[in-house]
Symmetry: C2
Subunit: 336 residues, 2 copies
DNA sequence: CTGAAAGCGCTAACAG
DNA sequence: CTGTTAGCGCTTTCAG
């Protein structure tokens, strides 16, 4: 492998000059710089990140820690983070818990601390106390996306407002019998977000003087399959079912839509359905939803970390990420 | 940060001994080893991967290069790779093209070659000649998952057989008017796989003496939205539409299912639908499909690379990954 | 079984 | 504007 010394020798300059020239640092004459660039190109020189990292203390890589990759929100945030990092010349080291607790200790107490990364993004993780403290002890900048962790900065939407907007959309259409499909529960995934949304649902219902029936509040784990099962249960009795369902995620809302097909319930004629997310499938499914943009959230969070690493002052207040009601074909006026 | 020297000094041994003890190398007395382990723990010592990488030439990290993260197949393979790597103590460095060509050159000609990784997995990428050759020149082991690249080892299913099995399932149910929703087309994503599946569809139809109508072969880009659009077009004319559709991916099949709902076509009474993948939503959607397991594929491919890095001889022949017909509710006998 | 010492390839003062 | 000189923190011969 050709090293910085090969380039330096072949040009009769010092390695320091090569290093400066290639990194765009000031204090190199234009002509030297271009000769160096040229020669580096010719020799196919690529700097070793290990050597650079050792010498400089910066690895030019950030880590992303998440509960699972195969899940719309997570992979979308990841995509946004990657986009931003790539543009800044940083690499992305991935730490997935893979939907289970296996190797979890290793990830926390070894991999992350291995000095391979200059900063860390954590996604929607429910942390144990010991994990939380080892996170707080990390000397490199850290940020959390999607579900707050006490003591760490957080990028995400206002979950309470998002849920309220969803429920009020239904109420605005005249619905009074409104069910709720709750998220949360999978191993290791943050449980605050589903709780916040549920609380907002209840409060909004109460604020409008509407009744909450326990049998209309069902668990769906944020997922299609569980959402379908929950919906089949909630909608089973034609004489006593809600006219609208608020789902804490779009995937669960797909489950409700599917349940409606299976049960022969017309949407939105007999049943209105609204979700949260604006999942990739929501547009073609005609699902009304509260849009959030995980792509942007990832990009934004990565940007904050990058700014800090580049010496810019840390923003002490992180703006809440936007959400937006997207009305499609799955919601309509209450049936008379 | 506490270094190996801190541990060595505090114990009155050499750094070499600490290094050997902690890495489980032979030639350390049991008692020394446990004292070292103990002290490392006490001091919270974590080795620097940069220093270790510089000294040893091994980074203990593999790279994954893929067109996009936010897509079921890719994120599922990624999850499998991550699982295997994590178990082996390797880190995973992610390179996503993010669905576009931006930064593509940089990824190929810099990031990947930056000596940050000991090996590389490439997913379903359509490569330019120059990219292909820079891949072949990589001194570290490389493997391709999901779509073959000439000259590089490949892990994946037999796409031709998978498509044939799907079509023959429909034929076995008595269908003769069988449409096809084709994949492929997105920027940078492999285009061999969709072509192989299409060819197999045509050949199977021909082998059974069945007619292929151009208007029944529609493009869907492997995706829900495009699949829906294609299906609406294919199924528009009630007097002249297929009784079954073979989709090159489950996501497109969801589009057909959705189109059927919109058009009031009964599935499977009037229309049978089969896909390829066994997407996470296929079970709750009741979609008949040809299952493949991207998780396993990623795990398997990572395993091959790891074996090689650990000095085991490279398998010269990589077994084809299995696929399997999963019959659910979306296919049934041809309407009479 | 253990230690000494020479780097790995780069960066970062410090001189000039 | 450019070169010299120390390391960064580990691994790895080579001795003992």
């Amino acid at each position: 492998m050709t090293s910085i010394e090969d380039v330096a020798k072949s040009l009769g300059v010092s390695t320091a000059t090569v290093s400066r020239a290639l990194r765009g640092l000031p204090g190199v004459s234009p002509s030297t710089r271009s000769r160096v660039e040229q020669e580096a190109q010719n020799l196919g020189y690529v700097p070793s990140s290990a050597a650079a990292g050792l010498a400089s203390g910066r690895t030019m890589a950030l880590g992303v820690l998440l509960p699972q990759i195969e899940r719309w929100y997570f992979s979308a945030v990841l995509e946004g983070v990657d986009r931003r990092l790539r543009a800044a010349g940083y690499d992305l080291v991935l730490f997935s818990l893979g939907g289970s607790g296996v190797n979890r200790g290793r990830v926390f107490h070894r991999s992350i601390l291995r000095k391979r990364i200059d900063g860390l993004l954590v996604l929607c993780l429910e942390l144990t106390d010991s994990e939380r403290s080892s996170l707080l002890e990390l000397e490199s900048p850290t940020i959390v996306v999607g579900g707050a962790v006490e003591g760490v900065r957080h990028v995400g939407i206002d979950d309470s407002a998002a849920a309220r907007d969803a429920v009020e959309h239904l109420i605005g259409l005249g619905h009074t019998r409104i069910g709720h499909l709750r998220g949360g529960g999978s191993f290791g995934i943050d449980f605050q977000v589903p709780r916040i949304r549920e609380t907002a649902y209840r409060r909004t219902m109460a604020d409008h003087g509407l009744e909450i029936r326990p049998e209309w509040e069902v668990f769906g784990d944020f997922r299609f399959k569980e959402g379908l099962a929950g919906a089949l249960q909630m909608l089973a009795d034609p004489g006593n079912r809600p006219t609208a369902v608020f789902c804490s995620s779009d995937e669960m809302a797909f489950g409700v839509l599917r349940a409606a097909v299976e049960l022969g319930i017309d949407v939105p004629g007999e049943l209105s359905v609204i979700g949260i997310d604006d999942h990739e499938f929501s547009d073609p499914m005609g699902l009304t939803t509260i849009r959030q943009s995980p792509n942007e959230q990832g990009d934004f969070a990565a940007g904050i970390l990058l700014d800090e690493l580049q010496g810019h002052p840390a923003a002490d207040v992180i703006p809440v990420q936007p959400h937006e009601l997207i009305v499609r074909a799955s919601t309509g006026p209450v049936p008379r």
